[in-house]
């Protein structure tokens, strides 16, 4: 199964004094994500962005 890479959120660093509690495991391959969803029963969130990542 293809796994997405874990990248930090695009907003940059967490506010001072607050630890990031989660890293969103963004995928880049839509069809691989859809196949994973069909197998696992989890929904898919597609984030279309033009912001620099």
């Amino acid at each position: 199964m293809r796994r997405g890479r874990t990248v930090p959120p695009s907003f940059g660093l967490a506010p001072r004094g607050r630890k990031e509690v989660a890293m969103i495991p963004w995928r880049e391959d839509i069809d691989a994500a859809l196949a994973e969803a069909a197998q696992s029963g989890r929904p898919v969130l597609l984030d279309f962005t033009a912001a620099p990542v």
Partner: protein
């Protein structure tokens, strides 16, 4: 884009998240009829679209919209009790968001579907007399009164 740990947690735990950077990968925009960014689309496990968010939202509104999307997926899968709980969660945690009146409407529909008791639709219509009165969802529910 998600500087809120609650958002990161919900996205990580409840979804398979896919980021499409449209500057370098524009092709999926046509596939999913996306004309602007940011656009968030919630797909069910079957790949069908159940919810769409266009434009930036603050964390509370965004969490409410994502929870609403999960509710719509549960409803489409005929998981009416789960759907009702998710819509109720929107109302309880995010009562001041734009998602709340929609959640109130669909909570009533889910309860009706779960029980086959149309009295729940009437109760939902009456609930709109007290809150979210001037919303399109109140108008839609008014036929049940």
């Amino acid at each position: 884009m998600y500087p809120d740990p609650r958002v990161e947690r919900l996205v990580s735990e409840s979804f398979i998240p896919v980021r499409i950077q449209v500057r370098t990968n524009p092709a999926p925009m046509e596939r999913f009829n996306v004309n602007w960014t940011p656009t968030i689309i919630v797909l069910g496990p079957d790949g069908k679209e159940h919810h769409r968010i266009e434009g930036y939202l603050d964390a509370g509104d965004f969490l409410a919209q994502l929870t609403l999307g999960l509710g719509h997926i549960a409803f489409a899968r005929k998981e009416y009790e789960r759907a009702e709980k998710l819509f109720a969660e929107v109302l309880e945690r995010f009562p001041e968001t734009e998602a709340a009146p929609e959640a109130q409407y669909w909570q009533g529909v889910a309860r009706y579907r779960a029980t086959n008791d149309p009295a729940h639709l009437g109760a939902t219509a009456r609930a709109f007399h007290d809150k979210y009165t001037d919303t399109s969802w109140a108008k839609k529910a008014s036929v049940w009164a």
